[in-house]
């Protein structure tokens, strides 16, 4: 991958993604941390485009920047407002040391391995991914759907708890949803 465009795009996106990930650590309020997390997801999606992974980049935008960002905002707004400022940290030094050790090990391995490199410049990945998902990886694909529905039902059960039902006594034009009292 050479040429002015891809190289400059790589460095801009690298700085943007690492900077926004650091800003999640350094943000003063948790809402700002979520916004920096969404910026991180978007910059990483752009980096996936740079790696000619167009389908995965779109999936990243839809699932991470869209769905998970909104889900995290919901979780913050449903938890206490006094903890919304709560960016308390603990063991910052040892945590940084552990992260640096892991990153340094991976970098050391990356530079000391003889990679059998090639240039797989995919023109378009969508049809290849579709063929692969329905042929070789058909069973994991189906299991993933079971996993997703289990996670959905599990999340509803964990949050819903006692469940809601229709209050028949308040029957009117606007039927209210009330929590069942026990």
């Amino acid at each position: 991958m050479s040429g002015f465009g891809p190289v400059s795009a790589f460095y801009v996106l690298a700085v943007l993604s690492i900077g926004s990930a650091l800003a999640v650590m350094a943000a003063r309020s948790i809402i700002h941390a979520v916004l920096f997390l969404v910026l991180f997801f978007v910059s990483l999606a752009a980096m996936f485009v740079l790696l000619s992974a167009d389908f995965v980049a779109v999936a990243q935008l839809l699932v991470y920047a869209g769905a998970i960002g909104v889900l995290v905002v919901f979780a913050i707004l449903l938890t206490p407002s006094r903890d919304r400022r709560g960016m308390e940290t603990k063991f910052v030094g040892p945590g940084l040391l552990a992260g640096a050790v892991v990153a340094g090990t991976v970098v050391f391995i990356a530079f000391n391995t003889n990679w059998d490199t090639a240039s797989n410049d995919f023109p378009s990945t969508v049809d290849a991914i579709g063929q692969a998902l329905l042929n070789r990886w058909a069973l994991p694909f189906e299991i993933a759907s079971v996993l997703l529905i289990a996670a959905m039902i599990g999340a509803i059960v964990v949050v819903g708890g006692r469940g809601v039902d229709l209050d028949t006594h308040a029957a009117g034009p606007a039927t209210r949803l009330v929590r069942r009292e026990r």
Partner: protein, 103 residues
Amino acid sequence: MVSLEHFLVVGAVLFGIGLWIALSKRNAVLILMGIEIMLNAVNLTLLAFSRFVKSPTPIAGHIFVIFVITVAAAEASVALAMVVSVYRNRGTIDVDQIDLLRF
């Protein structure tokens, strides 16, 4: 010239930052955000290998990333539901105060 090692370094640095956040924050939602950053760093590494390493089936890296995104979405929904549930029962999401299993 951008090669495989450049992307691997970025992925490793992002993984380290995610690990730092997950280890040192006390708010449960922020710990989950650190885990999401770590998962994304791994996705970047997988896609870099898929792009730059010689393989008979280079599309396999993309399939792996799609499954990682699927599992991460399921993990995020269940974990955030557990955070809300813990807040309802205990009144806090500070992981230092959720120590019922400590002996």
